[in-house]
Subunit: 396 residues, 3 copies
């Protein structure tokens, strides 16, 4: 508890560059903003682990808009909101038909009269998810500025076509705790690699988020994929720039083995090639069912050339001491378990299974920290008051 | 804050004629009841605008039953419940199959053991929605009287086939604030007019609610629609009676221009003719899909004769100084925006867009006031205690 | 209130054998555990009836997983969670696809990072529901033991293929209050009988739960069904053993009249024969739609031989003084009301309708007691503190 008090004192009074701003992409934020967020998330976790209340809202809604299926992010968002005292209200589009344009402008205001946070997942269409979140944000700015809304709700990106910041930041907090400190991540090599999956059309936001973030936190990033399976070109270039600015390395290779060589961390995960996602977006927008079927068929056939892109025991032996940390955003396609042939062998996954669960466990706290940093100028000062109040989460 | 204290003192100790009674139709309530509700809603808004908690429930459910799609009313209800400390639990009929008769009697009790408020939207069938709410109310009376329920939950009508009181009361509060006081509404002319829409089957409850309420609050009401597009005849007659009793005017005309002439307020909105709604109800009850299609086709053809019933710049020029306040319950059918040809021109809507958002923003507070007036004998006294406690909504 | 204080003092300090253990089947618990649960449930009801807060959680989720439709259990669970301060988060399988195996292990952890209670209904497949709950429990044990979860959420069985403990315990509390005490239940005869229904495939868990529980609480149980309509054989044998151990009687007869003879309590309710449920489970697992249709047809034909298995006035005359207490878990198939010919005549049902509602009203408190007994070593001590705090549920 003494340690906790010290951590609070350290955070309180610090500049909070995240205050009153939406959290859409990690690369919109400074490194010190992101470090601040990690500290805040860890403190929220410490409070809860010590059975101390972090209820900062007496009422207020946290609206979630999921334009794609989700279990873990949905529960993480709900847990985060509840931890701070906000009540989740799902905006179910099947029930309420949001679209772009006028409707977004209006709906964004209609759901926000007593709302503090809006969490959005929109990762299906390339070029659309991020745009949609910006559009919602502008509508909220307009409503707040013109006296429609008594507050400007903050937006938390729960995954778009570009970034998945609640995932990548949870991953970073996991790495920080696993290796002991951010300092200790310096010079570590992380292999962010494509992996074979029997499904297709998986979003690009996780690998894009990882290469953008880890290059800024001292890690050397090796991005690996079969020729043609690239990410959004602009974001690959951005990772290269980040590496240059931060004296880290960023390389793109076409071999899983090469990426794994001497890696401290491996993150093997399937995604659809950028060009396929572009075609897919067009076909989806045109509701071209036949075209989509044809695309899926050709992609799966193409994927089938790369079934050897599996994270197995042999490839893990190539990593640093054969003991790299395996990461995944879950659920993984596990060979012989969740599919015949997938991203990872059963043995490797089982060895690191609990580690991936622990990794996932940081997400509720990262989201809660994003909410709190958005709403409070000085979250540390608020935590100081909560600490002083000493209310328990569960009665004792 | 001094001003707020004065308003609380003024409300406290007043007779609350809404206590322990369902809120189904504004015309079941006295004018002083309705004025009380406006004052209470405004106070709840003032509390929140001043970051003061209005949490009056430590636990308790607010059950919502939506028999029709809804976004803004759903969020308004959720916000209102949350503001007072109640938790929303949706009664999803797709999941639980309510019907009339025995099932209503039983289900009403089964969802109410720890429930304080039930909000119901049932506006699809003419002659059914209001009846259903009464039926639920009788089931709750029976359960409470016989010791099944420890409390008699209050019912809030979130739109039925007859009235839409949360809308019309929010509209009235908007008018009160826009013009400065209820006193200042005296002698104002409001044009409640039909408008063209490319859809059909829109409920009658909004225009019915408006003509019943505004005639009682000093306004002269001009109801306009193409010949044959009348509302429930009994409710048109009631509006005429209210006008007579309250020394206001009520007229029915068949010209949008005539209604707009010298109007202070215009409320152009589409609805289906009463006779069509009657036929539609029968066809829906008989699940006559072919009949429904035929009815829709003939109605849309009939509507097409009246595309000039659009609220455009030219018609707005006819209003008082060309500057009448435009109102709408949203979403509006905006020509060239949400449809090719609709209820309102893009220019007129855009000019008043923010005003319609502000109008909508009163709904959560009206609903919260209905909840509070139902549960507390003297809500003013409760607000006095909350004011004295001085708890913040968001920690500072 | 003095009486309430005495009851709290009596409970506090007692051994709570339910602490930190899942509540899956009443027969996994000792009689003293079950009596403890009844006392705790009654106290929670007393607190609420006296407008006293029982909020023991400042934050935390209560996750519900419904693999079958439900209204009353869904609302009971939501009410119970809300009463204690937990927020319900539904795990909608349509949205998130749980299955067995690896997925269960992972999903159980993913939804549990900040979760205190998981309520599960899974009663569709014979041999599956209970197994699934055990599987979830093992996954949670694993996650908690290995530092994935900061707490081990407790599981509450909201109905499986074997038991329906929230129902049977609510029924027992109803009987205790109806007859005055557990002591007074000694020697009472309860007729748990099959009844005709025009539907098929109703679960076996209610009759199984009743015969297992009532034989342990002093009652003589007469289980009646047409030849071939038996329950899971192992559970019928268990009831016989319980009767022997507790000096009560357990008989199986093939006549509703015989069971009703001189009964103090009757519980007439339809179910599908064990053998049919076995076939049905296989067909469902094989997605054999044709086979399912054929099975339904043959079963309904078989059922039709037993339409005289209706609880009517004539049969009620056979019971103790013609005034046995009628029980049902609701909704009942009422002849001439909810179906042409059903489980109970309209007259009998109407006479006992309110009694069945009161019976149902205990369920939220039983569930809340299960939650509290799972989370707190000494719930009585917690109630003592709540009593001392004296916070109202609704402001006064």
């Amino acid at each position: 508890m003494h340690n906790l008090k010290n951590k609070i004192d350290k955070l309180a009074g610090q500049h909070n560059g995240l205050f009153a701003l939406d959290f859409l992409q990690t690369w919109d934020k400074t490194q010190s903003d992101l470090e601040y967020l990690l500290d805040l998330a860890q403190l929220l976790k410490d409070f809860r682990d010590n059975n101390m209340s972090t209820k900062t809202f007496d009422s207020g809604l946290a609206v979630s808009i999921f334009r794609d299926q989700s279990t873990r992010t949905r529960f993480s968002f709900a847990s985060a909101a509840n931890l701070l005292g906000l009540e989740v209200q799902d905006m179910d589009e099947a029930k309420s038909q949001i679209a772009h344009g006028e409707t977004v402008r209006e709906t964004a205001n209609m759901i926000s009269f007593l709302t503090d946070i809006i969490g959005i997942r929109d990762d299906m269409f390339l070029g659309e998810g991020h745009k949609y979140m910006k559009e919602v944000g502008e509508a909220l700015d307009d409503g707040f500025k013109n006296g429609v809304l008594p507050q400007r709700p903050g937006i938390v990106n729960l995954q778009c076509d570009r970034d998945h910041p609640t995932q990548s930041m949870a991953d970073l907090l996991h790495l920080k705790n696993h290796f002991g400190s951010l300092e200790k991540l310096k010079g570590k090599k992380i292999a962010m690699t494509w992996a074979y999956s029997p499904s297709y059309g998986k979003p690009l936001s996780v690998p894009q988020g990882i290469i953008a973030l880890m290059t800024r936190f001292g890690m050397d990033v090796s991005l690996a994929y079969p020729a043609g399976y690239n990410l959004i070109p602009e974001l690959e270039q951005q990772a290269a720039s980040f590496a240059k600015q931060n004296n880290t390395k960023f390389e793109i290779v076409n071999s899983m083995e090469e990426a794994f060589a001497d890696a401290d961390i491996v993150y093997p995960k399937s995604w659809a090639p950028f060009s396929v996602m572009q075609q897919r977006t067009l076909l989806l927008q045109n509701k071209d069912t036949e075209g989509l079927k044809a695309l899926e068929k050709s992609c799966l056939a193409q994927n089938a050339n790369y079934t050897n892109w599996e994270c197995d025991e042999a490839k893990m032996k190539l990593t640093k001491g054969g003991e790299a940390l395996y990461m995944h955003c879950l659920p993984a396609d596990i060979s012989g378990v969740s599919c015949k042939q997938g991203e990872v062998s059963e043995g490797v996954f089982e060895k690191y299974r609990l580690a991936t669960y622990i990794e996932a466990g940081y997400k509720p706290y990262i989201i809660a920290a994003m909410m709190m940093a958005n709403r409070f100028d000085d979250p540390g000062e608020i935590l100081r008051k909560l600490f002083k109040n000493g209310k328990n989460r569960v009665m004792v």
